[in-house]
């Protein structure tokens, strides 16, 4: 797909250029709005073309996202967005593909496509809006809902333990794994920028408030005055520290990683964050720090490691064979088995 326009400068755009003419239909106060705004405000700065940008989603409140973007978009079926995006990415390595879905869409029905997309490392930015509930179907528990939760489908309290989406992604070989939340536009934009820049599959978990069916699920860690103490900002190359006085830090133990008082352990014994480690073990350990969004929780980029991107490797193979053998000729193909004349 060569495109004359590719050589031309990317036209300047504003937020409005990225807004479609469709009325946004989320509940007033839904966290989805802030994520949409963050992205629409960011895209003009990413140096990308609207016509080269595609949003693919499954079904759910979050999955309505593509309708609101003035780009190409497909609102597909529940759970299948990563699979459809994979085909598109393989066919069209020239496109910028974003996959958006909820915790039910991506981790319940779509869990398998998600982990395989991450394993293959096909170029796409996967945004999982985690509100720990099924929004669109009006309030059943999801695979990220906390144990004990009372919902329409768990009236006596949920029994099972939730997935930790970051752990799932890392267990599935994801090369880029990050977390942000809907209350901090700047942080969202930083993470989206990084996800977009990463070659391969980028996975971003966004804590998103569903004010109708699960209001305040993340308030303890995302409300302004709690953030210093409850959000652990992962910064590449720096010792991992948090707290209003940066009084807490992360140290490694035989069990994984743990919170310590900096004054007790000394800053030099803190774990220095390195996103690029080829071994995902430490990133995984960091993902286990918080059992849920009521404990100090790491946000930022857990992992950004270099792995071969699948779509380009695939097209390299196609081109490699073509170069080696020459462009296929249908006539030769038909004569490639033993033939005889009559």
């Amino acid at each position: 797909m060569t495109d004359v326009m590719d050589s031309e400068a990317v036209p300047e755009t504003s937020r409005a250029d990225w807004q479609s003419d469709q009325e946004v239909r989320w509940c007033p106060g839904c966290g989805d709005y802030s994520i949409l705004t963050a992205l629409q405000l960011l895209l003009p700065d990413l140096g990308v073309r609207r016509e080269k940008t595609v949003f693919i989603s499954g079904i759910g409140c979050a999955a309505r996202f593509p309708y609101y973007m003035n780009t190409y978009g497909m609102h597909s079926i529940h759970g299948r967005a990563p699979a459809i995006a994979t085909g598109l990415a393989l066919a069209r390595p020239d496109l910028d593909i974003w996959v958006v879905g909820g915790d039910g869409d991506m981790l319940s029905i779509g869990g398998n496509h998600l982990i395989h997309a991450l394993r293959r490392n096909t170029n796409m930015n996967i945004l999982l809006f985690n509100n720990q509930i099924y929004g669109l179907t009006k309030g059943q528990f999801s695979p990220t809902s906390e144990t004990g939760k009372v919902t329409k489908s768990s009236p006596v309290g949920l029994i099972s333990e939730p997935f930790n989406p970051i752990s799932v992604a890392l267990g599935a070989e994801a090369s880029f794994v990050a977390r942000s939340h809907d209350m901090d536009r700047k942080h969202l934009q930083e993470i989206f920028t990084r996800a977009h820049a990463h070659p391969g599959a980028s996975f971003v978990e966004v804590y998103q408030n569903c004010n109708v069916f699960n209001d305040g699920a993340f308030a303890e860690i995302t409300k302004k005055d709690a953030r210093d103490d409850m959000l652990i900002n992962l910064i590449h190359g720096e010792p991992i520290q948090f707290g209003s006085e940066r009084q807490f830090g992360i140290v490694q133990t035989a069990n994984g990683v743990e919170i310590a008082n900096v004054s007790e352990v000394g800053i030099e014994s803190l774990l220095v964050h390195d996103e690029t480690r080829s071994d995902p073990s430490t990133a995984f350990a960091l993902s286990r720090l918080a059992k849920g969004p009521d404990e100090p929780t790491p946000v930022g980029v857990f992992r950004a490691a270099v792995r071969e991107e699948y779509a380009s490797a695939m097209s390299d193979q196609v081109m490699g064979v073509t170069e080696e053998r020459g462009k296929g000729e249908l006539k030769d193909l038909l004569h490639s088995l033993p033939t005889w004349e009559v």
């Binding site: 016509e51 080269k52 497909m74 079926i77 994979t86 398998n112 695939m314 193979q317 009559v342």
Partner: protein, 625 residues
Amino acid sequence: MTDLEEGSKVEAVDRVIIRFAGDSGDGMQLTGDRFTTASAVHGNDLATFPDYPAEIRAPAGSLAGVSAFQVQISDHDIMTPGDAPEVMVAMNPAALKSDLHLLIPGGTLIVNQDTFEERNLTKAGYDYNPLEEGEDLEGYRTISVPMTSLTKEACKDLGVKPRDAERSKNFFALGLVSWMYSRPTEPTFEWIDERFAGKEQIISANKAAFSAGHVYGESAELGDQRVVVKAAPLASGTYTNINGNTALSWGLIAASQLSDLPLFLGSYPITPASDILHELAKHKAFGVTTFQAEDEIAAVGAALGASYGGHLGITTTSGPGIALKSETMGLAISLELPLVVINIQRGGPSTGLPTKTEAADLLMAMYGRHGESPLPIVAAQTPSECFFAAIEACRIALTHRTPVMLLSDGYLANGSEPWLLPDVDGLEPINVEYATEFNHIREDGEADYWPYLRDEKLVRSMAIPGTPDLMHRIGGIEKEDGSGNISYDPANHSRMVEIRAERIKRIDVPDVEVVGDPDAEVLIVGWGSTWGSITSALGRVRSSGHKVAHVHLTHLNPFPKNLGDVLKGRNHILVPEMNTGQLSLMLRAEYLVDAKPISKVAGQPFTAGELEQTILNYVEEKSTT
């Protein structure tokens, strides 16, 4: 052809059916294949039927492990691998036990006598040696040959280990049968050189075994068994021997070239469809991308994603995979995107008989999705015709922006026949046009792009990602015709349901042709792989003095426009199907004609003989009542 002349006592026959049967480890498929190619090159018409078990390699010598290959070769045009074999090679007791009943009375049986010892006999369930006792072989001409020992003997000076030499015994059998049917030696030797290139010992062992078999024929005074099947008077041109899955794969590549769109296959392995994935994976030089997905849902999803991106999106599978793909097919129908879904049918329900043939997924193809979700259906009729059926399915999908179901089956997939190679320059191009410009003026006077504006065939406009200015969103929720925006309006939904039905009806489909005796009272309607058996059977019915007409459907949805007229007023419509009456049901519902199924659901294709008999019975009963 030199072999042919030297023999003098050679009798000419017009056709012969040979069956090679042995253990899964005995290489019967290879042997059959090789014999087929030699016959094809010799100029015979032919048709093959590989018949193998679901296990990779069931216990050696067991009944479950018997693998067979049947081929009919002839000096005239034939359509099937034949009903009952006239010659059978049985490489072990299990093969004898499981397949002997197929051999015609008086047929020739060639057995590897070395394998008829206690262990193998017991495994096959014999408590005696049928070569020596009992009446099993009565009425057959049995040729017992110690193939294993003769093969070992032939290899003994080649430095090949006896156990390895033993593996060449199928080439002994091939050599013997090749001698019997006066097949030339050189092509097989050349093929051995190529196939086993680099493995010198195997090459020499196989050649030695082949020659030993050939020589055995000469020396063992089997002269009276030697026959020749002359070349068939086929249309002149270049031929190749091809099976259905290969022809289908090539057809897909052809469609990609004809439409100038890169081919994208999203697939998940499943018998008997996997070979299409394997074949296409080899042809990257044609710009083909093959993606083995995590499951069938992802496979069809990826194909749909590729279609959306402007590729020719294909997905291949068999029944269980179709079940899994049906939700995504519904999405493709709603999105009105091209997609080719290929179902190589096998025995069902559930896992069923994975390596056996059946054609019981027609109604699923028609109705197997929720909501009103029609899609066109194309069915292949012979192995080589799979090539054209694939092109046709792609043509419809691309030019009508719709998912298309292409039906083949296990019998076509693995069966082969000589194919007169078409002139590739004569194939009609497939014109696909993507939108590049605004197509609508908004109320405020601004130009705009509407993805659901339609042409006279009700085909919608399609702009692919990357096209400047035409950004738009599509989805599986009901949409407003024209703009494509989400719409819950009752009248719009009603209209969209109608449009989706009507746009399938407007697809041009060739009229059916009535062959045989067009005005006969009895009309046989066929579809899919039954074509060969029906045609052979009707030939015989007609030559026994009865009149029958025959039409064969390659398009099951929409039906050909003239089909209603062809059926109208006929009281005797018979529909042979490898199911319990699925096409019959469609014809009855559509045309209110009393179409009666002739059903066979046994994992095996119809033989011409059984069809002939059923039809004869019907014809005769009809006239007596």
